[in-house]
Subunit: 138 residues, 2 copies
């Protein structure tokens, strides 16, 4: 079965809408712009990527935020961090098998956004126009 | 082609890693725990859902946060808000066609998390154990 469609079967759904459900805590970790973008860059690269290359690719990210995002992804077992004992030490990041699997779904989400951005931005303009026509508080 | 797999073709990828790319701004809006959970509840329901029913389903959400999340989703054209002139007015929320399409992908993400939560939590425990063994600053 397709990697993505495998997870569309709700038969073994636990209740992620309940507070403190472990899956919901994970969702809170993964539902983050930088987490999704770092997954995207690592997924698109042919091999391991060095910190500075990641930073250059992710326009607008601070060093601190990238460090924190990579630690989060490493902690969840989605990113592998390899340190080579050169001088200075070389540190490279790549997706684990688990990260590659999740990356396929988050990539689909990114592609969906790109493909629908005009529809979404039309909706936004229309919403703001409707709001502007509402009676204003006096 | 499958709804999800349609967006796996990178041929029309714009550069979402660049700051102020509209798709990246959208990603920042959608990469939010409550946005994803509200999409999930609306997707799972048979028909339109009232505000209080949504609130009951989403354990831990505040009234303010749910209001804000629904406005965000309505503004992006993903949620339809219907007001019926009863006393008191009845307000119901449902996914638009666009929201239903995106919901399919975010649901796949949720299912993936549920299916892999043990692997992810094992990784987390191992990471924390490795960190604890590192030499501490004196």
């Amino acid at each position: 079965m397709d990697t993505v469609d495998r997870w569309l079967d709700p038969s073994d759904l636990v209740d992620s809408y309940v507070h403190r459900c472990p899956a919901r805590e994970l969702l809170a970790v993964l539902a983050d712009k930088w987490v999704l973008l770092v997954l995207g860059v690592l997924r698109a690269s042919d091999g391991p990527v060095r910190f500075n290359a990641l930073r250059r690719r992710l326009d607008g990210i601070t060093q601190k935020m990238l460090t924190q995002t990579l630690r989060t992804l490493e902690r969840e077992g989605l990113v592998h961090r390899a340190v080579y004992p050169t001088v200075p030490p070389r540190v490279e990041y790549s997706l684990t098998e688990l990260g590659r699997d999740l990356g396929r779904i988050t990539h689909a989400m990114g592609m969906w956004i790109v493909a629908h951005q005009e529809q979404l931005s039309t909706a936004r303009v229309e919403f703001d126009e409707r709001e502007a026509q509402l009676p204003q508080p006096v």
